[in-house]
């Protein structure tokens, strides 16, 4: 048996919602390791998300495919954070969008069934999942404000202030798509910031 690398997950959970050791151990032992090549679709539109992932290595992208071949990048995930189509996972209904890996990835994953069993057995784990969902919801609504009220330049600057490292790990065309601006505008903004 390869030992499962759960330390990053333990650290992450402890920073959000500390658990007692017994519960923490039961929680951590329910995850299984998973690796995957770059440019692999983990969840397709129409499919119901079976897993919650915790990212150990690599970058992933969720994107929606609209009419006229428009593609909207919804979210990126990278370590240390959770991944998977969260809304489809939590509601167990079909996903409206795709989740793909941009690079080779290493993950921990847990099935819906298993997490549900844990939540039933340990109410504190359920509260922790609620806390994690609340944080995610807060992030989504903040982004909603940015997309609706901010100019392209403001959106760009907000991203640079919040997560400057994404410039190094995510292809710029996807960052542009995430901000809802076209790639040429994105390079212009990038140039103006550097000067």
């Amino acid at each position: 048996m390869i030992p499962v690398e759960t330390t990053p997950l333990r650290k992450f959970i402890s920073s959000v919602y500390p658990l007692k050791e017994t519960e923490m151990e039961r929680f951590l032992e329910s995850w299984q390791p998973f690796t995957c090549k770059r440019k692999t679709i983990l969840t397709a539109a129409g499919e119901t998300e079976r897993y919650l992932y915790f990212v150990l290595e690599g970058v992933q992208r969720a994107f929606f495919v609209g009419n006229e071949r428009q593609e909207a990048t919804i979210v990126f995930t990278y370590p240390p954070s959770f991944s998977g189509v969260a809304d489809s996972f939590l509601t167990q209904t079909p996903s409206k969008y795709f989740l793909e890996t941009l690079t080779n990835g290493r993950f921990l994953k847990i099935s819906y069934q298993k997490l549900n069993d844990l939540m039933n057995e340990f109410p504190v784990i359920q509260r922790m999942v609620l806390q994690l969902s609340a944080i995610a919801l807060k992030g989504v609504l903040e982004r909603q404000i940015e997309l609706q009220c901010f100019s392209a330049e403001e959106r760009f600057k907000t991203l640079m202030a919040r997560s400057p490292h994404v410039l190094q790990i995510i292809p710029h065309k996807y960052l542009a798509s995430y901000l809802g601006i076209d790639p040429t505008t994105f390079s212009k903004l990038l140039g103006s910031v550097r000067i």
């Binding site: 995957c36 440019k39 679709i41 397709a44 539109a45 129409g46 499919e47 609209g66 009419n67």
Partner: protein, 208 residues
């Protein structure tokens, strides 16, 4: 056991990895079919050259195989067999899968002719055909998931042209997906011809 494997030289797969990899191939096909939804139906119904199948005809051809194989595979899994760690392809199944699968360069060099009863009608309605194709792929993803708890080397599925020839379920999945991938190369080529542009469909990840 290992010695025997070396003599026969047949590749051996870890079942879960193989089924995972087939699932990601199917998801790739779903994403490509999703792009087709946004294309003008007139383009989807146009023959790329006189006598050549339109994109919708290609999909209808795939649907006709789906109607047979998806049900046949589901039925073959009715019996309770336990999963095992490894899958070794049968030589017939492996041969046909290799024959079907597009080459490393993502192209098809060996043309084939379809059996008569799988030739699609000339003017099928575009959207229902695309819709059925996508539905069948979701069904296929579920069957691949179900197969993770079955012995895909012991279960056998009768092929469409003869009830008497049966392939290992693992090979039937491989063959079925390879056949779809082959025809998606054809679909991409048809789009390139009709629209006179390059790289219409989102690039597939390199073949495993």
């Amino acid at each position: 056991m290992l010695a025997l494997y070396k003599i026969t030289k047949m590749p051996r797969y870890i079942c879960i990895d193989m089924l995972d990899s087939l699932q990601s191939d199917v998801r790739q096909l779903i994403s490509e079919a999703n792009y087709l939804k946004s294309i003008d139906p007139a383009v989807l119904l146009q023959e790329p050259a006189p006598g050549k199948w339109s994109i919708i005809q290609v999909l209808e051809h795939l649907n006709s195989y789906g109607r047979y194989y998806l049900l046949a595979m589901e039925r073959s899994m009715d019996k309770g067999t336990k999963s095992v760690e490894y899958f070794k392809p049968g030589w017939v199944g492996d041969y046909f899968t290799r024959l079907m699968k597009p080459g490393e360069n993502g192209q098809v060099s060996n043309k084939m002719k379809s059996p008569k009863d799988h030739r699609p009608s000339k003017y099928p309605d575009a959207f229902p055909v695309l819709h059925t194709f996508l539905e069948q792929q979701q069904y296929l993803l579920d069957l691949l998931e179900l197969a993770k708890s079955k012995n895909i080397g012991a279960i056998r599925t009768p092929i469409s042209i003869s009830r008497w020839i049966k392939l290992k379920l693992g090979d039937t999945f491989r063959f079925f997906v390879a056949h779809e991938q082959r025809h998606f190369v054809q679909i991409n080529n048809a789009l390139v011809t009709i629209r006179d542009t390059k790289d219409i469909l989102p690039a597939a990840h390199p073949a495993v």
